[in-house]
Symmetry: C2
Subunit: 134 residues, 2 copies
Amino acid sequence: MKEDAKNNAPAEPTRSELEILQILWQHGPSTVRFVNDHLNGEKRAVQYTSTLKIMQIMTDKGMLARDESSMKHVYRPVLEEKSTKGLLLDRFLETTFNGSATTLLLQLLGNKKTSKNELDEIKALLNKIDPDKL
Amino acid sequence: MKEDAKNNAPAEPTRSELEILQILWQHGPSTVRFVNDHLNGEKRAVQYTSTLKIMQIMTDKGMLARDESSMKHVYRPVLEEKSTKGLLLDRFLETTFNGSATTLLLQLLGNKKTSKNELDEIKALLNKIDPDKL
DNA sequence: TGTTTCGTACGAATTGATTCGTACCTTAGT
DNA sequence: ACTAAGGTACGAATCAATTCGTACGAAACA
């Protein structure tokens, strides 16, 4: 039923897909080999063909595009980092915190995983961005 | 391979499971009927037996417990709201923002979906919680 | 020119979540 | 006692993501 790579809504990357996108966003257009090595180095053991398969599927979905001019295809992200993460954040906010950014932040602040430094950073950030509002 | 309901790590609710948990957290122990009606009213069309099935599975996973003394089983959440959401937030933060709460917040601030009121609320909140730090 | 290495394509198997039909039991009402 | 209504249990079907084996082509190199 799937046609081409361009008739879709915003597209929700899965966890695995997001892992791959992160690498591409960070390092720019890359080969499957590069992405796979990275995954294995930083994250978890995964077969080359598995990574390849996912990247091919992502291409089908229109999340990635590839340059096939060379034998080693070079993949680049089509989804833009900021908007994609924004979408993910929206959805997460909606499903988990009923859309309340305040509740999310409270949870964030109460989280032991969030370091004190990070909190200070956040506060400083808020002041810097919009000091008069406070 | 699955044994009982208690040999597991923290447990990651899926989207559907989270929907159900939210209802139970909000309204307290409930029957399948109640949960299903709520889902259909507030969210989406779903068959009674589908909801039942998921809640049974969640019980198997140890996410829910049920009182079977009456014919109408009453389910209650085993997963605690705060810690569960904390876990989900941690994971989301990790996979999407590479663990940086600051980056997440920046995205939140830049998000058009986040209302101005909400932002003001957030700022006020930060001040209230830890005014001296700012 | 073999032959090894590295790449892509393709398809099957697995896994997990989800959905829902069907069977059957219990209770209330007539 | 019979029937209707409303429960639960169970198993099959579906669907998507994921994983990976196998086949095969191109390039590097001995």
